[in-house]
């Protein structure tokens, strides 16, 4: 074997080794990207976008802080709480509608209804906690609610910048009224166990599993370094693709040459 041939063989073996070892390294990233990629392609079916992250360590990793300010009203047996702009009915987050969260103004219960008043909207629930409807100024609700009250005959009243208004049983009309004997809803101290539950709920509302999967896929979950590692993995894949094609072509060339030499040999004989 000539010195040139030996040198070429060593180079080829070296390419083989690089391809093999880098391939093993890449396997981990391929698996990670494949699994997270499939998950992201089926995010709706898997409900990743609707599933909040509840793992405390992961929320800590994202730096999600507990709410700074809790404001609660007790409409027995319900506790209604605003946690940094998010509304909670007992320990469960409440979707307050489409036009912003609104500041919690009060909550009261009559024999038939649970009423939650926000600055610019009102949420009605059955006494079982089932959502009935959301009212806003387009339904005739006076703007800029400041307080929610109830009279001894179970008429709901509100105080706005414009004065006191009473409503009918179905909340279809509002009129100015002095609401004699009204009892206004006032904030109350939330039990500690519920406060802790709401704190956890508030944190988990901030991040869902689609976000985590996406961050894992891009490497962003581990900050800038994670993104750089994923960039390196992408370069690794490119190298493997090129080296794989190269090795395949070399082998193909060798096989053909070997076959051609064999035919020459037979013809000579």
């Amino acid at each position: 074997m000539t010195h040139r041939k030996r040198h070429r063989r060593i180079k080829l073996r070296s390419l083989y080794n690089w391809h093999r070892y880098l391939g093993l390294t890449a396997a981990l990233f391929v698996l990670l990207l494949s699994v997270t990629g499939i998950m992201l392609n089926h995010t709706e079916e898997l409900r990743l976008d609707e599933t909040p992250v509840r793992a405390g360590w992961l929320l800590d990793w994202y730096g999600i802080e507990p709410p700074r300010r809790l404001r609660s009203f007790h409409a027995a047996p319900f506790w209604i709480t605003e946690a940094d702009g998010r509304l909670f009915l007992d320990g469960e987050a409440v979707d307050t509608g489409t036009d912003g969260q609104g500041r919690l103004v009060g909550a009261l219960r009559s024999p038939d209804l649970l009423v939650i008043a926000l600055r610019d909207a009102m949420l009605l629930y059955t006494t079982d906690g089932e959502f009935i409807e959301r009212l806003d100024p387009s339904h005739g609700l006076p703007a800029a609610l400041a307080r929610l009250g109830i009279t001894p005959d179970d008429t709901f009243c509100i105080r706005t910048d414009d004065g006191i208004h009473a409503t009918d049983r179905e909340f279809t009309r509002w009129w100015r009224d002095d609401c004699a004997g009204v009892r206004w809803s006032t904030p109350a101290a939330l039990p500690e166990t519920l406060a802790a539950r709401i704190g956890d709920g508030y944190r988990s509302e901030q991040v869902n599993w689609e976000r985590v999967t996406l961050d894992l896929h891009s490497g962003r979950l581990f900050g800038t370094q994670g993104v750089l590692v994923m960039d390196a993995a992408a370069l690794l894949f490119a190298f493997l693709a090129i080296s794989g094609i190269l090795l395949w072509l070399i082998r193909l060339y060798k096989q053909r040459r070997h076959r051609r030499h064999g035919q020459h040999g037979r013809r000579r004989r």
């Binding site: 489409t98 009605l124 409807e133 279809t172």
Partner: protein, 179 residues
């Protein structure tokens, strides 16, 4: 540093969502337009029992609340107006609908919050619903041409048109039962 990056991403996402909201007309202005400046007091319709089941079948999911509001002028009881919401892909689309004699008189997209599919607010699209009514299976009696790239928003509007017609039918049935 990591927290700053993540907070930045969340803020960017929140801004994108906020920017995506397009108010074409407020519900209050829509009602004022429909009722010549003086909308009547709203009336209520409970979605319970069979009404709820059929509404659920039309929407493909449970209606969000137990009660919906509608507006009906005492001088023209054959005409009802509805402000309904349905999610296109991720965000609710607020739509104003007017039904007269069991046929759609007007469909108008009031607030659009999705990042894509806003083309459904074009009058050329919403005009297709005019005079549509429900068949025996609570489907629209005509084909509504879709819009490329706005499939989910188109689907949401079709559902709302069917729901408004169905609810209008329930109102009329209730009125006939209690003259």
């Amino acid at each position: 540093m990591r927290h700053t990056v993540i907070a930045g991403i969340l803020l960017l996402l929140a801004t994108t969502v906020a920017l995506a909201e397009q108010i074409f007309q407020t519900p209050r202005d829509f009602l004022a337009e429909v009722f010549a400046g003086t909308p009547p007091a709203p009336k209520t319709l409970w979605l319970t029992g069979a009404v709820r089941s059929r509404a659920e079948a039309i929407l493909g999911h449970r209606p969000r609340g137990l009660r919906v509001r509608y507006w009906q002028d005492a001088g023209a009881p054959e005409r009802t107006a509805w402000i309904l919401e349905e999610i296109g892909k991720e965000q609710p689309i607020t739509v104003g609908l007017v039904v007269r004699d069991g046929r759609i008189e007007q469909v108008k997209v009031l607030v659009f919050r999705e990042s894509r599919g806003w083309e459904v607010q074009r009058p050329a699209f919403t005009a297709q619903f005019r005079d549509a009514q429900l068949d025996d299976e609570n489907r629209l009696d005509r084909n509504i041409d879709g819009i490329t790239g706005a499939t989910l928003s188109v689907r949401a509007l079709k559902k709302l048109a069917r729901l408004a017609l169905f609810l209008d039918g329930q109102v009329k049935r209730r009125e006939q039962a209690t003259p």
